[in-house]
């Protein structure tokens, strides 16, 4: 089990979920949304959509039954911070969901739990039961007339794409986990075609914290567009892997220093759908406007072969694509084939150029975030490590056998 070295510093430890919920219970829907918007909290699941705006859309949408869905699928390779939150601070997450419910007018909550986290389920169920017993879920929450909300836990079955919010909803509805066409968006046509809010585990926890401490408190750290602290799951060739709470806007360099990875050759920021940052870019900032992430940081030491890295992530994409759309289903297999050709030294520069263009088309043409970002790691490796990967092509084979 990976240890959390900065555990004692986790802000969530000092939060009182009951205080958060009470604050929300005393506020109107509009006031809650205003508070969250004022904090500039952005989604912690990866895409970084402003949470207040999301809640506002949903609160305005019309529907008989609204839903608040917690995305606890945590399928991004290299991400494990939601597990820590769910284990240690489940009440903060549930309070966050209840706050969202009050903000948008939802009465049903669903927590979509990653299949591999089945062992967490019992504890979460117990926490939910406790909340019902304490009057924090159910009718008249905290004695407030009309504040009605309850949460169910639903299990995922290990498909990465089911973390994508519309595929998650399809899965919740009992269908094949495949992303939907957008528009319409989840906020007005989500679960059972009803207005729904889908947020990451950590987003809900921060929303609860903001209700307790206020938006100004949250905005103290971070950048203009990326406020607050964020949990990072850091793994790879470093001295101290674990879950870290760090301010957004921190440079890659600083982050690596904090975890004991100063001599890294490269880091994958944002998991399989993130990108590779090479040494030359270590001064870039980890935040939505520069190098965005849902929290995964995977560090590669000097001995790592970048083609192996590309191969590994592309194999993942080829398997985890839901398979509905052409670019993602077929395109990634071509990128993977190309990596194998590069490994064998049978890829010509011309073919590589073609494949890079294909990678751009995959990004442009895919239906969902998976396909749109599936080629990122490969493309950033080609861009930043060209020498390293082409070296094998030039010496090893006769040009005549090259595919062009």
């Amino acid at each position: 089990m990976i240890k959390s070295f900065v555990d004692k510093k986790l802000t969530f430890r000092d939060m009182d979920p009951d205080v958060s919920l009470k604050a929300a219970a005393d506020m109107s829907s509009a006031e809650i949304i205003e508070t969250v918007s004022a904090s500039s909290l952005r989604g912690r699941g990866g895409a970084g959509f402003p949470t207040g705006a999301k809640w506002k859309f949903c609160s305005r949408a019309e529907g008989d039954q609204k839903y608040v869905v917690c995305n606890a699928d945590e399928g991004e390779p290299g991400t494990f911070k939601d597990r820590v939150i769910l284990t240690r601070f489940p009440h903060l997450v549930f309070a966050g969901m209840s706050i969202a419910a009050r903000a948008v007018g939802a009465t049903r909550g669903l927590l979509y739990l990653r299949g591999e986290y089945t062992y967490l389920r019992e504890g979460l169920m117990a926490a939910l039961q406790k909340r019902r017993d304490d009057g924090l879920l159910g009718d008249e929450i905290m004695g407030v007339d009309g504040f009605e909300f309850d949460i169910e836990i639903r299990m995922g079955s290990g498909a990465y794409v089911c973390g994508e919010e519309t595929a998650l909803i399809e899965s919740l509805e009992g269908h094949r986990g495949e992303p939907r066409n957008r528009p319409p968006f989840t906020a007005d046509t989500g679960m059972n075609a009803m207005p729904s809010v889908v947020n990451n585990v950590e987003t809900f926890a921060w929303a609860a914290a903001i209700m307790e401490k206020g938006p100004e408190w949250f905005r103290v750290v971070g950048t203009d567009q990326s406020t607050g602290f964020k949990l990072f799951s850091v793994s790879g060739d470093i001295d101290r892997p674990g879950v870290y709470e760090l301010p957004l806007g921190i440079t890659v360099q600083e982050l690596l220093a904090a975890v004991g990875g100063e001599n890294a050759k490269a880091a994958v920021i944002g998991g399989a759908s993130g990108r590779v940052v090479s040494q030359a870019e270590f001064n870039r900032k980890v935040c939505y406007e520069d190098v965005p992430t849902g929290g995964a940081v995977i560090v590669f030491g000097p001995g790592r072969d970048m083609l192996d890295v590309a191969e590994n992530f592309l194999e993942f994409m080829c398997e985890e694509s839901c398979g509905q759309c052409t670019p993602c289903r077929l395109g990634n297999t071509k990128l993977l084939e190309c990596v194998r050709m590069l490994q064998e030294g049978t890829c010509s520069a011309a073919y590589l150029r073609e494949i890079v263009e294909l990678g751009e088309s995959i990004h442009l043409a895919s239906k969902c975030g998976l396909g749109q970002s599936s080629g990122n790691i490969f493309l950033s490796i080609v861009e930043n490590f060209r020498e390293e990967i082409m070296g094998r092509a030039l010496g090893a084979v006769e040009p005549a056998t090259l595919r062009s």
């Binding site: 528009p183 075609a193 509905q324 052409t326 670019p327 289903r329 088309s361 043409a365």
Partner: protein
Amino acid sequence: MAEKITIDHGVVRAPTSMRRSRPEIEKDAAHPVTVTIDGLETEVPYGTPILDAARMQGIKIPTLCFHEDLCIAGVCRICLVEVTGHSILHAACAYPITEPIEILTNTPRVRRARRHMVDLILSEHVGECYSCWRNSNCELQNLAWEYGVRSYKFGHSSEPRTEVDRSAFSVSREMDKCVLCRRCIRTCIDLQEVGVLEAVGRGHETKIGTFMDKPLGNVVCINCGQCINRCPTGALRARDPGDDIWDAIDDPKKHVVIQTAPSPRAGMGECFGLEPGTPVTDKLNTALKRCGFDKVFDTNFTADLTIIEEGTELILRLYKALVEGDEAVALPQFTSCSPGWVKYLEHFYPGMIPNLSSAKSPQQMFGTLIKTFYAEREGIDPENIVSVALMPCTAKKYECNRPEMCDSGYKDVDYGMTTRELARMIHQAGIDLPAMPDTEFDDPFGGATGSGVIFGATGGVMESALRCVIELVTGKTVENFYDHADIIPVRGMEGLRLVEIPITEVGPVPDIIKHLVPNWDWLLGAKLRVGVAHGTANAHKVMEDIKAGGPFSECHFIEFMACPGGCLGGGGQPIPTSPEIRKKRAEAIYAEDRGCEVRKSHENPAVTKIYGEFLTDGPCGEKSHHLLHTHYVARGKYID
């Protein structure tokens, strides 16, 4: 006379995927949105997909997974377009316009990405066009041409990867040619509500599969062939008996006869470059003779016979139920001429089999008569007769292979052949169909009526039955009640129709059925309630309505057709199909009906003759029961 009851049920076009409740934004004409498409400014109703908006401007965006009859999938990503200010491209078919945007359909990024989609699909598409049945009528081939594919950028294989599934009599599947557009799934689930096909597996392992990957012959497929009609490539096809038929024609010992149904005659022209809805009946007769068929018969004759048999059966059921008070009589009676519908009922509502008319379909009645009555009359050994049926339908292939369809002592119909397959035979024979002179059908079955013709359109069987019943019961001509004997209320393309016909006067019982009912007094003042449904999704609605005791449970007679539009939209008809094309074919059929001298089944002289000479104990008599009626199998949904 008739009163059409409006019911709030779906139309032929599947509105949204039933399975996924996958939301689509509805068009709202009250809220127009201004958009610019390639520099042209225009107003479209809120929610209009970019694809439609572009078409209105004369801009063609290529598509592959899009089909007019089906809900939006947005999976092939061929229809990519650029929206100014958006970082990624959008699928035009799946992007509803909800705000003023600027759309660009022809930019380097768009062209390159579309071309990449084509290249990717071709890299996984096994085989060569010249060995494919869809050669020259393939949407993928067209795209490859449009996008200037000269070489396979990302590879291409001619080595078969998967085995062709030939387990079913009607549909075979060659998944090496599948592009995963999922039209077949949407057809089978949404349009037909059978649900045989589904995407299985994930990532590059994704494929179209059946329940537990069983062969198609071993699942609840009803053989309707609607999936074939909507597949853009050669992945799905009907089992083509063309070569066997040529062998029979070339065999001097064999007497090869063909019966032709009305719908192929309304569709065949499309395979020869004619406009949909151009009837080619008499030219086709000539072409068939030139191909070498010994006789060409008109299935309409047995359509008329079906009306007499099925109509008599209905009268008997009503008499037993209403006069004799027999509660065991199953009502409403269901038509049985659509073999796809019959199999649907056998699988999904086996408990309702007693409601199904026991009358065989026109194809099978004809088959039996050819190898009995006709063989006897002409002195031909039935053993040497090869009986072919030209049908719009793939399920007819299955039907003629049902083991019970051997009442003549031989296989009643040897081959069911679709419009498309016969078109190819005609092409092979070097015959230019549109240039053919006219030839009449052959005797002794030549005489047919307009009632038989309209069997091809949804509502046609019902209209024919009504023309017959009204005259038999009232003793007056239908024209007294309906101008030109056109019973308009049962016509149309709505998925479900319910019509009430009050019986305000009765006449004497005609001779032909006098021995069955003494008088019509018991019908006086009654209301005949009839229903029409086409496409098994609509059949499903009717069946559920009946189970719930809704308006359809009070019907006396319901016409069911497995295919949207009826036979004219059959699974063996020319590709492509669309609501517009089906409408035109229907027009051709009703035009042919209008042109007929005799338009009522019971007035068909050939029908009178056959009851006089051969089926001498009359409709629903013992002989007709043996030869013209059949029984069904309760199949259920679970098949080993």
